[in-house]
């Protein structure tokens, strides 16, 4: 992306209504103990995240396992009801809606799952998998129209209409993911949550699926929330990127800014941890090796959630929660010392 597009992304907020607007979203899972199954605590999987997604853009959501990225995606779509916070889709508040009201919005917001082996019913043919949303939401009136639409969808994702009567087990992982994508775009949605859509695929197949997602985005002006732990793929596909750690977003910025001028120590450590497929560069670059592991979201540390592993933590990080603030237009960060550079 060029500098001008970075500026476009950064200043977009001032001019345009976001398609999805998330404010202080939390999702806590209760921990029950004892004979009476009393609640003794909570796993704070998502602990107050806020972000916007605009029409036709891709927001990348990166973080390690247990950071709450998938839970954010699910809570956003009301697949798991959020504990608190607000989610607005095209101006409509989802968290206070009844199930049937949310259901009526489902055609406009869809999901692509990580594991294409588990997300397709093995007893349904490809035609019935891809056609199910069409019949459920009465998007087609008769069976010939339905058949035509299924063929059209399969062609769009790079499969052949002849595949329609086969079962999922007859396909490879990459092809199954294409079926999952065909199902997601069947009702011409505006927004798709892609939850680690390439994590289960082989390297040579990942590029195929990412190219397909990008092509469909251009054709159908889709907005994506692209959840992934693969930093290099997110850099490729995303317009803006949010970094999650222990249920919170610690930094959010246009992709170039996040990768070239990261300010949060965790973002920097993540960059440094990703191995680059270039032996010469690997030998020369400096490394920030974090100590220890991500703490348990059932007992998040007080203050800044990252202070236990932060290489530049100071005394006040252990009790003061850093404010979520806008450093520059479009560049948000939660760190007390984000504006001090050169550590």
């Amino acid at each position: 992306m060029t500098d001008t597009t970075t500026e476009v992304v950064a200043t977009r907020a001032a001019h345009e209504e976001p398609l999805v607007s998330v404010r202080d979203l939390t999702k806590h899972f209760p921990i029950m103990k004892g004979l009476l199954r009393r609640q003794v605590g909570a796993v704070r999987a998502v602990d107050g995240v806020s972000f916007d997604i605009y029409r036709g853009e891709t927001l990348g959501l990166v973080g390690e396992s247990g950071s709450g990225k998938s839970t954010t995606g699910r809570a956003l779509l009301e697949l798991d009801s959020p504990t608190s916070g607000s989610v607005k889709f095209d101006g409509l508040e989802l968290t206070t809606m009844s199930n049937s009201q949310v259901r009526s919005l489902r055609p406009r917001m869809q999901m692509v799952f990580q594991n294409p082996h588990a997300s397709l019913n093995p007893r349904m043919t490809v035609a019935s998998i891809v056609g199910e949303p069409l019949s459920e939401h009465k998007a087609v009136t008769n069976s010939s129209e339905r058949g035509d639409r299924i063929n059209e969808l399969l062609t769009m994702v790079g499969l052949r209409p002849a595949h329609a009567n086969r079962y999922p087990h007859e396909f490879s992982g990459g092809q199954r993911q294409r079926i999952g994508i065909a199902r997601a775009i069947a009702l011409s949605p505006d927004f798709i949550v892609c939850d680690e859509p390439i994590a289960a695929l082989d390297v040579s197949i990942q590029a195929q699926v990412v190219n397909l997602l990008e092509r469909l985005q251009n054709q159908l002006s889709l907005a994506y929330l692209f959840i992934s732990h693969d930093m290099s793929m997110v850099r490729h596909i995303a317009d803006r990127v949010a970094v999650m750690y222990l249920g919170r977003i610690v930094e959010l910025a246009p992709v170039d800014v996040l990768y070239e001028q990261p300010t949060h120590p965790y973002t920097r450590a993540l960059h440094s941890a990703v191995p680059v497929p270039d032996p010469k560069l690997e030998a020369s670059r400096g490394r920030v090796i974090l100590e220890g592991d991500i703490p348990s979201p059932a007992h998040p540390p007080p203050g800044c959630p990252f202070h236990t592993r932060c290489p530049v933590a100071r005394a006040n990080c252990a009790h003061d929660v850093p404010e979520w603030r806008e450093l520059k237009p479009g560049h948000w960060v939660a760190c007390h010392f984000a504006d001090e550079s050169g550590w």
């Binding site: 990459g174 040579s204 850099r235």
Partner: protein, 330 residues
């Protein structure tokens, strides 16, 4: 390092699995050698035969249905594939250490980690119980586990994924092996923890001069670690080269495709170049080149004859009928 000295020499290894659905040709004639202290990366996708190759060397594949159909693997003047079980048992864990992908399933959940490390020490050396535990503590410190003495009493479930993998490395190192085979040791870990493990391996390598075979699907992980890399596809080695040469001048169309399909953090991304098609089915023995259906340079000979590895540079071998450097058939 003596350039001619070899610690492990594998020749024409073939492993097949006889299943209800037919014969799976998992490894189709793999030959390679390993020098003392060398770090050998093995890259391939799932089903490329990279794990089965290394497992076959120590007969760690389920037999039946698996069967090593042919080949030799010379280690210390012993042919590992022909030797008896007693000798093989002394080699496993003693002279050749193993690190598996998932440390939770390879550690025994009902034994303390101290016991499990000491067990390995006592099996392969004369050490007594006390001595073995001291050695275990030393090993845990070596792999960067804090409070090693207390950790000896921990059970695997009390440790995080990264810590468990450190215990696995400690067990693999227990008897100062000449070779360590690491099968996707960081695939189940987060990137920041993976970086810790890579850093440990880098340090250990400099210290012990143990040869390491590191199996992975991630071209990034071995770029900064390996001396030499084998690229596997369809149960065969398709390219073998020094790490710098492999990344700067990949010669096999598959290696080229793999490297081009990666988005790179240090490069601005355009449309990704993808390799069309699907990985091969292993139910048929390869008649031609197994990459032919996906290859941009395919011509008649590729479909009829399976190419064998030919030398294209110093310790750089490639199995392809098309010379990608000259742009013509070999």
């Amino acid at each position: 390092m003596n350039p001619d000295e070899v610690v492990l020499e594998v020749d024409d290894l073939r492993t097949e699995f006889f299943t209800h659905d037919g014969t799976v040709h998992a490894v189709n004639g793999v030959s390679f050698s390993l020098r003392p202290g060398e770090f050998l990366g093995v890259v391939g996708e799932s089903g490329s035969g990279k794990s089965v190759t290394m497992m076959s060397l120590l007969k760690l594949i389920p037999m039946p249905p698996g069967e090593i159909v042919s080949g030799t693997a010379m280690f210390d003047d012993i042919d590992l594939l022909a030797t008896d079980d007693t000798t093989l048992r002394s080699v496993r864990g003693g002279k050749i250490g193993f690190i598996f992908q998932d440390p939770m399933t390879s550690l025994n959940p009902v034994l303390t980690v101290g016991y499990q490390i000491a067990e390995s020490v006592r099996l392969h050396t004369e050490a007594g119980k006390k001595e073995a535990l001291d050695r275990a503590e030393e090993l845990l410190t070596l792999v960067g586990l804090p409070d090693a003495r207390d950790r000896l009493k921990s059970y695997p479930h009390e440790l995080s994924g990264g810590m468990r993998q450190r215990v696995m490395i400690a067990i693999a190192l227990a008897c100062s092996p000449r070779v360590i085979i690491a099968d996707e040791p960081t695939t189940a870990l987060d990137v920041t923890v993976q970086a810790q493990i890579i850093e440990i391996m880098r340090g250990l390598r400099e210290r012990f001069n143990t040869a390491v075979i590191w199996i992975t699907h991630d071209l990034g992980v071995i770029a900064g670690l390996a001396d030499r890399v084998l690229v596997m596809y369809g149960g065969q080695i398709v390219e073998e080269a020094h790490v710098d040469e492999l990344y700067s001048q990949p010669t096999h169309p598959y290696t080229q495709g793999l490297l081009q399909s990666l988005p790179r953090l240090d490069q601005q991304g355009q449309e990704l170049t993808s390799i069309p098609g699907q990985p091969p089915s292993l139910f048929e023995p390869p008649s031609g080149c197994s990459f032919a259906p996906r290859c941009p340079h395919v011509f008649n000979r590729c479909l009829e004859e399976n190419p064998s590895l030919v030398e294209v540079g110093a310790r750089h071998r490639v199995a392809c009928w098309w010379d990608t450097v000259e742009g013509k058939a070999r």
